[in-house]
């Protein structure tokens, strides 16, 4: 694995930063939630205390201590903000709730909803009765022969007043009541103060009635009766004298609450039945942060609040529910996070009981949208997340660049180390990066030291031959001159034989020494050579002609280019180079093989090539052939091969600013030695 990749992976660990940020934000959020809970609960407690000091402004004495029982005909009266037009529709009521079904023992269905303004009580009914039975136009109707709605109100003086609504044609009507005439028969009396609108629909009829509050006590029983005797729905005043209570919201409580609450909070006061007495405020803060909308889906995905285990608050228009409300009504303040039933918004609900004379008369419920908190958190988190992401991205980038730089340097050092010892045996002493002060620089300097020592050693080995030859020459001369002297003394034949052998030995020794020292001599003579311009073509031609005479057994093919080929250098040395290449070729060329000498010219250089058919050079040795005293190939003769020939070739080629290369022919038929010399 490359350093680049390794460091990249290391750099990726900085992703822990955003993660830690998220964790931190979650903790922050949890703390914020707790503190919001506490603060909201404290607010609720404060409001509850304030309200408990003035119970008459909060609670309805009429319903105090009574349980809200819809089955007994108890009705919640919604506070209406506007005066609705009597038209048989409740659109103008602005009440979110649907009408409540009336208790019914038969299949006859009717639903009712009540609302009040300052002066009127409105009653709205929907009755499922597909057949309209109109009221006959007579003064003494059979009251069970037409569709009607009976309404009994407990008058302000406590006496029940019985009315009914019926009509011969839909439209605006007035309530009627039956008056016992003096003749004992019932006669219909119209009550013009109680207006209603009868609207016939496909499913039945709607009745929207308006009763002045001045006529009204605290109870109202209502039932719809089918004119064909199919049944009735509702509560009869006679059967349930304790039912039919009207649970009013408290007038003025909204305004009172308004003084307590802050923006973004909804305060609701409920009575012991959890019915709303009044409310103020709304959940949406008016000064929403526009930045909040910028959060993206992936961010929501990672950071969204886990709401799966949150309870869902029942969404009732007339009453509140949930654990907080239950707890508060039991006397305990309580706060709770929940989802609103309607639109699944996160809500914080805090409820505190309102105690009057140590009795829980109701509760104050404060609600805040969790969104507000989320917005705060989201904002902080988005910033944090973005910042850490940018930090991570730049860290990764920087690390990647750094790793690239490091690995580039190491790579440079490596390739320099690879090629430090050239194929020609030359050692490059300078390493890249050795100037830098870090570990890579130290490594490079270490390499340089190593190469320096290697170079010294190589130099020592290179000069060893010369030194040895020099040191051995004197003792050899002593031996030889002694033999010379001995020979002059006049010897017996048997003695002469030994002398001759000794002389042969010294001659061999001498040729070995001479070869050993030759490298140094060649180097020296090359140093002293003068450079002249000469025609390489002519020199090659002349030399090859001489070789054909010198080696009559060998076949030498010559291939020369057109025109003179001028080279700057020493022709003597170049001939020496050719000598060595030809000698080498003659040694290794097969009996029937051909030695080819060719000179070619391209745009930048001359290529002087001497090739021979014969054994190939082992690949491992190709680069080492031109080293001093290197000899691996077994020639045809038994002469000692000290490999100086090709070394001289290299020296001469370098003297001319060129190179010498040995290569096996691609078809394996032999070997080519190519000397490349620059054009002048």
């Amino acid at each position: 694995m490359s350093i680049r990749l390794q460091l990249l992976i290391v750099a990726l660990t900085t992703l822990v930063l955003p993660w830690a940020g998220c964790q931190y934000a979650r903790e922050l959020e949890s703390t914020l939630r707790t503190s919001q809970e506490k603060s909201l609960l404290a607010s609720a407690g404060t409001i509850a205390n304030a309200l408990s000091a003035q119970p008459q402004r909060v609670f309805q004495d009429a319903t105090a201590g009574h349980a809200f029982t819809p089955a007994a005909g108890d009705l919640y009266v919604y506070p209406l903000t506007t005066q609705p037009l009597l038209d048989g529709y409740r659109d103008a009521w602005n009440v979110a709730a649907n009408p409540t079904p009336l208790p019914s023992s038969s299949g006859y269905r009717a639903r009712v909803q009540t609302g009040s303004t300052e002066r009127y009580l409105y009653v709205y009914m929907e009755v499922d009765d597909t057949h309209f039975d109109p009221q006959p136009r007579d003064d003494h109707p059979q009251t069970d022969r037409f569709d009607r709605v009976d309404m009994t109100v407990l008058g302000a003086d406590g006496a029940p007043l019985e009315y009914f609504f019926a009509t011969d044609a839909p439209g605006l009507i007035a309530a009627q009541s039956l008056a016992k005439g003096e003749d004992g028969t019932d006669s219909v009396v119209t009550e013009p103060r109680i207006q209603a609108f009868w609207l016939q629909t496909g499913a039945g009829y709607h009745l929207e009635a308006r009763i002045p509050l001045s006529l009204l006590g605290q109870r109202l029983w209502i039932q719809a009766i089918d004119g064909r005797g199919n049944g009735r729905a509702g509560v009869d005043a006679h059967r349930a004298p304790e039912g039919g209570r009207l649970f009013f919201a408290t007038t003025g409580l909204d305004a009172l609450l308004e003084t307590f609450i802050r923006d973004g909070t909804r305060a609701t006061v409920i009575d012991a039945n959890a019915l709303k007495l009044g409310s103020a405020g709304n959940l949406t803060a008016s000064n929403k942060d526009p930045d909040e909308t910028g959060t993206t889906w992936w961010y929501r995905y990672f950071m969204g609040v886990d709401t799966t285990d949150m309870p869902i608050l029942p969404s009732l228009p007339d009453a509140l529910g949930g654990d907080s409300v239950t707890a508060a009504l039991a006397g305990r303040p309580h706060a709770q996070w929940a989802l609103s039933g309607g639109n699944s918004e996160l809500l914080l609900t805090a409820a505190a009981p309102i105690l009057v004379d140590a009795q829980t008369r109701g509760a104050v419920v404060l609600q805040q949208a969790g969104d507000q908190l989320l917005a705060l958190r989201d904002h902080a988190l988005t910033r944090l997340f973005n910042l850490t992401l940018i930090a991570t991205a730049s860290a990764v980038l920087i690390m990647f660049a750094f790793a690239t730089w490091i690995s580039m340097r190491i790579d440079r050092l490596r390739s320099a180390a690879d090629s430090a010892v050239g194929s020609d045996g030359k050692i490059a002493l300078h390493m890249p990066e050795s100037g830098s002060g870090d570990e890579i620089g130290a490594l490079a300097r270490g390499f340089e030291t190593l190469l320096g020592r290697l170079n010294e050693h190589t130099q020592y080995l290179r000069t060893l031959g010369g030194k040895l030859s020099h040191e051995l020459r004197t003792p050899l001369t002593i031996v030889r001159s002694s033999l010379d002297n001995l020979e002059s003394e006049g010897l017996r034949d048997d003695q002469r034989r030994y002398i001759t052998r000794a002389r042969e030995g010294t001659q061999r020794l001498q040729s070995i020494l001479s070869a050993l020292g030759a490298a140094a001599r060649v180097e020296e003579s090359i140093k002293q050579s003068e450079r002249v311009s000469f025609d390489l073509r002519e020199v090659t031609a002349s030399a090859v002609a001489a070789y054909r005479d010198g080696f009559p057994a060998s076949r030498i093919a010559l291939d020369l280019p057109e025109g003179p080929c001028f080279v700057r250098g020493a022709p003597d040395l170049l001939v020496q180079l050719l000598d060595k290449l030809i000698e080498n070729a003659v040694d290794f060329c097969t009996e029937s093989g051909i030695i080819t000498v060719s000179l070619a010219r391209d745009a930048t250089s001359y290529h002087l090539q001497v090739g021979n058919d014969g054994p190939l050079i082992p690949e491992a040795l190709v680069g080492r052939l031109f080293e001093s005293l290197f000899e691996q190939r077994q020639g045809r003769d038994d002469r000692p091969h000290f490999g100086l020939g090709l070394y001289i070739v290299r020296l001469v080629a370098e003297f001319h600013g060129g190179t010498a290369v040995a290569a096996n022919r691609s078809d394996g038929s032999g070997v080519n030695f190519t000397v490349t010399l620059p054009l002048i």
Partner: protein, 246 residues
């Protein structure tokens, strides 16, 4: 030059019957004794010295007829060169042969520039050495006698006196070492014929490698060019050797 030689002659007047004295300055005892033995066998009187000091002391008393000097003497790496310089100061005519284990081109050039008559490596065999010594004495003897026209080879501007081993080009003397003289002689005797390196070495009674021959040739060309810048009679035949062209 000629005048100085005449003066030297007078100082070294000896008759042929008198044994010629050779000084061998060589720090290697075995080698010194071997050279002395061989030269004595050839009828020379040999005096041996191990270092420059003893040799110089003796030379100041009496000069030898010929000196064979090793370059490195005991602890003086170039003691032979110093000795040669001092000896030349005493006598311009005394034949000096450098005999050394060193075979570098530079040494040869330095030695010859200091006025040595020949520069031999210790590879030379004793008979070859004796031949050279004899040749040098012959050159000196010949210089004392009147010119013998029969011994003179003339090739155009070149004239070689084989007896005196003396060379002139257009009448001007060209000072050649013994080896160089024999090489020129071998080339000029058969103008136009290519002599390979082996033939030249045989003629000069030396064992030299190719590069040394090449540098000898180069040096000879330079010596001729000193008296005639247009000299180009010694021609290289690449791959074969050299030839004299008229």
């Amino acid at each position: 030059m000629a005048g100085r030689k005449t003066r030297e002659m007078q100082r070294f007047s000896y008759d042929s019957g008198m044994k010629k004295q050779i000084a061998v300055v060589e720090d290697e005892p075995a080698l010194r004794e071997n050279y002395a033995a061989a030269l004595s066998r050839h009828g020379y009187l040999v005096k041996t010295y191990a270092n420059r000091m003893t040799a110089m002391q003796s030379f100041q008393v009496r000069l030898p007829d010929l000196a064979i000097i090793d370059i490195s003497l005991e602890d003086e790496a170039e003691g032979g060169f110093d000795l040669c310089r001092d000896l030349r100061a005493l006598s311009a005519e005394l034949p000096i042969i450098f005999l050394t284990a060193r075979d570098s081109e530079l040494d040869a050039v330095s030695g010859l520039r200091l006025g040595a008559d020949d520069f031999l490596t210790k590879d030379v065999s004793l008979p070859h050495l004796a031949a050279r010594v004899a040749a040098l004495f012959r050159r000196i003897d010949a210089l004392r006698r009147p010119d013998n026209a029969a011994e003179i080879v003339r090739r155009g501007a070149l004239s070689i006196d084989a007896e005196k081993m003396h060379t002139t080009w257009n009448g001007a003397a060209v000072t050649l070492s013994l080896t160089e003289f024999w090489i020129v002689h071998a080339l000029a005797r058969n103008p136009g014929h290519v002599k390979n390196r082996q033939q030249l070495m045989d003629a000069a009674n030396v064992v030299l490698d190719d590069n040394t021959i090449t540098s000898h040739i180069k040096r000879m060309r330079r010596k001729f060019q000193q008296v005639d810048p247009a000299f180009d009679a010694i021609q290289t035949v690449y791959g074969m050797g050299y030839r004299w062209v008229e």
